[in-house]
Subunit: 238 residues, 2 copies
């Protein structure tokens, strides 16, 4: 929904120009952005205005600026993706790297709830990915991911890597930049118990995620159930 804005500062327009170039691939992840002076000349604004636009992109972690080096488009590396969206850690805060296994994918019609959440039309198809993730060689998280086929045409015929957001960016040009999560405690069902090697009825941490791209459009739904006997979900509130 494009808003009819009465007034749009110059640096916002510059920002949007750069955003468009990133989204359309003219500035690829990992690439160095032209320097401030060059951009200012090209766009016909002052260096300070370009700076303000770049700073605002840096504040959202879309570019990275380094004195003496330059400005580069942020790449969704496995490590980066993990640190941002994978909040499971050891008690005390030490970050973890989970391993995935046995990812199974299938294509099906979206449920009513999925259509509402992902803004899909009737009868639209989704890809569902189910996998178990291990930590310290022990099954710890049971995960189900749902994305629209429209956006990810052949995802169900693609091997699923450990860090899937890097795949979204590399193969489909979609940058996941934010996610809303809701957490609950639930009792393990029979399937959970089998997959995670625990007793049915044991308490599990259930995480419901809705992930968004640069434009704020919902892209992915994800449900995770975690055995938190040896892990925690860690978050910092500011």
């Amino acid at each position: 929904m494009a808003e009819a804005l009465r007034y749009r500062p110059l640096y916002r327009q510059v920002r949007e120009t750069l955003l468009r170039r990133i989204a359309e691939g003219h500035l690829a992840p990992g690439e160095t952005v032209p320097n401030e002076h060059a951009l200012a000349l090209e766009l016909g604004v002052s260096q300070g205005t370009v700076r303000k636009a770049l700073d605002s992109l840096a504040a959202e972690n879309l570019v990275e600026r380094r004195q003496g080096k330059g400005t580069t488009v942020v790449e969704v590396t496995p490590a980066r993706s993990l640190f941002k969206f994978f909040r499971i850690a050891r008690p005390g805060g030490e970050r973890l790297t989970p391993e995935s296994q046995k990812a199974s994918t299938r294509r099906r019609k979206a449920t009513k709830l999925e259509r509402a959440s992902l803004e899909l039309t009737a009868n639209e198809l989704v890809v569902e990915i189910a996998r178990v993730r291990r930590v310290d060689d022990t099954p710890a998280i049971r995960e189900t991911i749902v994305v629209p086929v429209k956006r990810f045409p052949d995802l169900d015929r693609t091997p699923i890597p450990n860090t899937i957001y890097a795949l979204y960016q590399r193969r489909y040009g979609i940058n996941i930049v934010s996610a809303d999560e809701e957490l609950r405690a639930v009792a393990a069902g029979r399937e959970d118990a089998k997959a995670l090697g625990i007793a049915p009825g044991a308490p599990l941490l259930e995480i419901t995620r809705k992930a968004f791209d640069i434009d704020g459009k919902p892209i992915e739904l994800r449900l995770s159930r975690c055995d938190t006997r040896h892990l925690v979900y860690a978050v910092t509130l500011r």
Copy 2:
């Protein structure tokens, strides 16, 4: 611990001057800060430098800037405090206002773990506050708060309000600005079951919080156990 910095930009120094004035009460919460021009004149720097300092404080929600009005020191109002640190919501995202009841306070020696977490010396005393919080007139959260007596001399003889961080600021001049939380799913114990009116063994969401002040010093430990049958812990990752 003052760090020996090789180089400290002017606007950082201005920022610290203003921070000191807030911390020492020369600029009280709710008060309007002198305008940019006046501050620039007083501190002998340019208006742009003052602006940068104020913007950095605004980015951390310590002051609030409004075009045409001015810059005011942020006050920890109950509503504000809630939205920032109270992450419990109804499924779907609607924010809630919990009510507290039956807060009981006592003074005791800190445990070893508390001494380590709060950076206390041996034999130091803490105040422990226990309460049950209700949502929709139903007990939903069982909460235990631990703070050092040193910082909160007579807290155990003070009525505990619903939003305790406003009390920290108003009565003790301590601003809680960030918190680390760790979440787990646990089975309800007998005490939990009694307090929350649920069956022993039912899954509960356990939240462990460590809250920090402006200087990054640990101030408070908090343990909450939530019945998440009708509530969720909601968080946005960016």
